[in-house]
């Protein structure tokens, strides 16, 4: 799993590439935690999943644990551009009730900023 990080004030955009599964989930979580520690002013995260071609229940579990961590600090994780298979996993596991999903990074960033606006 490769990550590409970009920060814009309190919003970070992370583009993921690869598959998120039992074998890569732990490493991904550790990397995200390290990014969070290295950039403590980031509150909200936009994960661009356009190049994530596989996600299983373990990978979903990692995303949920990261979301929990972020929401404890009053932040949010939103997802962008889920591929068909990945979207199906989210649908049937009810994860769409937990995560907000958008088609583009711009839409997601706008939605997050509106949520944060006074």
């Amino acid at each position: 799993m490769q990550l590409q990080f970009e920060q814009n004030a309190t919003l970070a955009t992370v583009a993921l590439r690869g598959h998120l599964s039992a074998s890569t989930g732990n490493a991904f979580r550790e990397e995200m935690i390290a990014l969070g520690s290295a950039h403590p002013d980031v509150v909200d995260w936009v994960l661009d999943m356009d190049n994530v071609d596989f996600l299983d229940s373990s990978g979903l579990g990692v995303l949920i644990s990261l979301l929990k961590r972020v929401t404890e600090k009053k932040g949010d994780i939103v997802l962008v551009s889920l591929q068909k298979k990945v979207l199906m996993v989210f649908e049937i596991t009810r994860a769409l009730r937990i995560f907000r999903v958008f088609d583009t990074v711009e839409e997601a960033s706008r939605a997050v900023r509106m949520k944060d606006a006074p």
Binding site: D56, S57, M88, V89, E91, T93
Partner: protein, 449 residues
Amino acid sequence: MFNADGPDLIPILNVGTPWALLPVCGRPIVEYWIELASTLGIKECLVVADEGIEQLESFLGTGSRWGVHIRIAFSGMAQTETFLREAGNDLRLHIEGPLFPKRTGGTVAAGGGAVSMTYRGHNVAMSLHAGAPDSAVEQDFESAGIIPFPLDSTRRYYALSMDMLKYGMSGYLTPGYASGGDGSFVGMDTLTPASCELKGPLVIGNRCRFGTFTTVGPNAIVADDVVVDSRTVITNAIVLKATYIGRNLDITGRIILGNRIIDPLSGESVELSDPWIVRHIPPKGFPAWLHLFFGQMAALLFLLLLLPLRYLIGFPLRLGGRIRTAPFSCPDRFGSTCTFVRAYGEGLRFRLYTALLLDLTPQLLLAVAGRLYLCGTDALYDRCRPAGPPPQGYYPGVFNYSGARGMVFSTPDIADIDRRYYAATRSPAEDLRILFRFLGYRILGRRAS
């Protein structure tokens, strides 16, 4: 005459199965036609197909259970003409292509004993004739209470299934046992715990298993040999044969076939490779009695081989105080309690003792004899404590699936995850692979579950 040839108009649904055996509300399409023919008084049936002949033969047999005589022919053979010639002016029902006979009530009229009905669609055709052609009265199928319904897309297949569930089951011989009142039908040897909620209308096939707190229906069709794990909801959905559906899922408005999830409206499908979510359940291998019989023989042979070694190597270790043991009890797969001891020790001789599995001899013999599963949850001595009963539904194993697959779990309930994975994926080949890996770990002196 039933022509089961024709293009695979719903290829994503009947993979490896002739379309005539595609189930509608729990029963194959061809069965509805046979019943219609029997209702009309037809006694001779010819089923023509070029693929899936063995499956058709296996299902249809001689036709005796419907009171008809069924013959099956390979397409292109001359049997078709002979059959029609032999029928003469008797009532002849001819079906071509994937058509379903929707029944709405009504009768076949006969003017002077002769009647003629014809329906033609794209790649499908249906005709019903009786009597001499020149004296036949034209009648349409609708007035006879039959609506030929072409099954040419997943959308139509889904719509037909839901429509029949809601409105049309009374027109057919219904599957399974009726619950009375709410349009629910459940097949034989299907187990549902008390916490499972069934909301009609629904159809559930034979030999299904449902976990706790599942909700099935309304408007659910579950075929034979389906396993649904706990807290999953199935509504407005069709689950086809031999499918495992994981825990805590929401299956709404979908058709599930093995690991394939189909959107019936668009016809699009995705195949998921995560066995925890959905997967195909492979057919069972050896029958249980065969396993038990040969298992007992093999266990006896193992006993004769291992017992002398156990005493030759183990006895000196015990005398020298190099082995410590602690007893524990666990249930076996039949609910009886088994008591074992776990051995602790150090040194080369102890490593040799464990590498030859002499510390696990009783468990291994019980696994070979079929009383314990070879693989499943964590090894007995890790999960079973001397005091207190194990969790309900616990399947004690000798070796561990999760250790073999190198999976890392973020939840502490590893035994629960193993049990679910085990229920979905266990096979003798997988057990043997885990066994050899485990032996390797032991010989190298590495700690492995």
